[in-house]
Amino acid sequence: MERVKARPEPEIIEDVHHPLQPYFREERLPHIWCSGCGLGTTMSCFAYALRELDIGVDDVSIVSGIGRTGRLAGYMRSDSYHTTHGRAIPFASGLRVALSLVKPGHKVVVFSGDGDLFAIGGNHFIHAARRNLDINVVCVNNFNYGMTGGQIGPTTPQGARGTTAPFGTFENPFNLPYLAASCGAPYVARWTTLHARRLKDAMVEALSRKGFSFVEVISPCPINYGRRNQMPTGLEELNYYAENSVIRNFSDPKDADISVKGEIVVGTFVDEEKPDYFSVYHKFIEQIDDEK
């Protein structure tokens, strides 16, 4: 009796591509992100959002800063700009303004991490939100500096550990939706990478709005954050999200603080009509008296 059954020859199917294939630089894959990281999920949610809105790769530019999330720009098939640490938003601001002169409908999306956008680049975030410049900011918040090895950052919940807080951080973290809303951002949402479909929907909404939009993505970093905070695998971090996330659309973002192992309030916090930078600019410019 044969102990091993002969396997059937695998059927080779040619010319079948993943639906998101046009959006990625295949030659750059596989990516450098760790197993369990939420960046791959975030990137595919974004590609699905582009597909749903029928935004082609040539209709959107991706700008990122430095860090693990910063590398996302290098995997997207669009024009993509991997800039300096903290400066993705001002670079994107210049890009957006210039494009309004030559390609007005072109989208500019900033992808970066919590450290890049809110520590070294925090000043630029509040001003871009204040200006209501037409850019979409996606912050992948993994509560630490993953690329440099797990140092604490401006969103690390008080008491959580990192390599620069071996006894737990004693600082207070930013509540990002509250910060964005207080600066006047007309669209503010937060989801975790567990909420992939809702995250994609939020990206669709953000891309559909005129003006500044902000989507926070709570994302696992098992190697550098989870491992030091009793969640050493991506699955355990996702379980934490599953057990502790609460959807509260249009709740006051003031109540969306995140504590160690505490509740994560997710949902859309702000979605309002507001004149964006360009519409106000053009209104003012039309009133210029050429005699003066």
Binding site: R25, R28, V57, D58, D59, S61, V63, A73, G74, R77, S78, D79, S80, Y81, H82, T83, T84, G86, R87, I89, P90, F91, A92, S93, G94, L95, R96, V97, A98, L99, S100, L101, V102, K103, H106, N123, H124, H127, Y281, F284, I285, I288, D290
Partner: protein, 380 residues
């Protein structure tokens, strides 16, 4: 673009030069003695359907200028010493990503907050070496409002031709000096952006031709370029190998070094019979004219080498002169920066005499004259 004769200060002339060169995005942050450039741009650009951006700091200003350049327009930022220090990291990004842009530094006394309203040439070496890493820089040094206008146009042209940041290293006195500026649009040449000539499938974003400068595909033009400050290969993708670093950094330096004869500009006056040559730039060159005249009255044969570009440095010209003249006198509003280049280039073949000034004012004619006489009397 304006046309005709105007009475402008140097800052305003610089802004007008930028507009004439095609600048359509200006991003800046208020700082003395540069603010008149930003104010002029805020007044002028909206009427041209263009954008003046007052950013939240100088880090944002230069980042926005770089972003605007990738959006397909010509862009500029302007600042003074403290802001120039803040811009250094992104000047490196501009070098690495080969982003054409113009950065104006209206120098003031330093270090630190120093003398906000008074002049200096203390940032000359910072322009060259301030951003980390291995790189070459192009920098102009205007000495009058007319040169502020003319050199700003040249700076934009060089930025486009060599895809690199170009600096205007001027100072408070030139920035605030009011003088006649003649604008003749027929004489103005504009260098357009170098665009790809092949379709997307054949385009290699960082593959350069003979002049070592690749073509630039901007956002939304269908070339799907990845632009990174990381060391990258010809396709623009990160490559951390020794070979990639050597290939990229060498090409970036060589595109300036090997084309330096197209970039370097200087003026020579009374050089033919000169035994002593004043080597200077910007306001210091201008202030030295009186000293040159006084020395000539005393029978000392003095000439002037006025550097219109300070970087790349005209080392070959200095080396050639060093073999024929007795010495160089180098007045500058610092305690010795460009004089180091003159010493290096003359390689001990001529006396090199610095006329230092700590900043806050300009040299008195006698100070430069004393240095000329000292070199004249020197018996080695």
């Amino acid at each position: 673009m304006l046309a005709g004769e105007y009475f402008f200060n140097g800052d305003v002339a610089c802004a007008e030069g930028a507009i004439a060169a095609g600048c359509r995005v200006f991003a800046g942050y208020p700082i003395t003695p540069q603010s008149e450039i930003a104010e002029r741009m805020a007044h002028r650009l909206p009427r041209l359907g263009a954008y003046f951006l007052q950013m939240e700091d100088e880090l944002a200003s230069i980042a926005a200028a770089l972003g605007a350049a990738w959006g397909g327009v010509k862009a500029m930022t302007a600042t003074s010493g403290p802001g120039f220090s803040l811009m250094m990291e992104n000047i490196g990004l501009a070098v690495m990503t080969e982003t054409p842009c113009v950065i104006v530094d209206v120098q003031r006394g330093g270090p630190s907050t120093g003398l906000p309203t008074a002049t200096s040439q203390g940032d000359m070496m910072q322009a060259r070496w301030g951003s980390h890493g291995v790189q070459e820089i192009i920098a102009y040094a205007p000495s009058s409002p007319q040169e502020m206008f003319d050199f700003t146009i040249k700076a934009f042209n060089m930025a486009e031709q060599f895809r690199t940041p170009v600096m205007i290293m001027t100072d408070e006195v030139v920035g605030h000096m009011m003088e006649r500026v003649v604008i003749d649009p027929e004489k103005i040449q504009i260098t357009p952006r170098r665009k790809p000539t092949v379709p997307y499938e054949e385009f290699v974003p960082y593959r350069a031709g003979e002049d070592l400068v690749p073509e630039m595909a901007c956002a939304g033009e269908g070339y799907r370029v990845h632009v990174t400050g990381l060391t990258h290969d010809e396709y623009g993708y990160p490559d951390m190998s020794l070979e990639a670093q050597a290939a990229l950094v060498t090409r970036l330096a060589d595109k300036i070094r090997k084309n330096s004869d197209q970039i370097i500009e200087y003026e020579e006056h009374f050089i033919e019979d000169a035994e002593i040559v004043i080597v200077s730039y910007g306001i210091s060159a201008r202030a030295s004219w009186r000293s040159l005249a006084l020395a000539r009255e005393k029978g000392i044969r003095v000439g002037m080498l006025k550097l219109n570009t300070v970087w790349p440095f005209p080392q070959e010209r200095i080396a050639a002169l060093a073999g024929t003249v007795k010495g160089f006198v180098v007045p500058e509003l610092n305690l010795g920066q460009i004089v180091l280049e003159v010493e290096r280039s003359s390689a001990g073949k001529a006396i090199v005499k610095l006329v230092p000034h700590a900043g806050g004012g300009i040299h008195q004619p006698e100070q430069v004259l004393d240095a000329i006489e000292e070199v004249h009397q020197w018996r080695g």
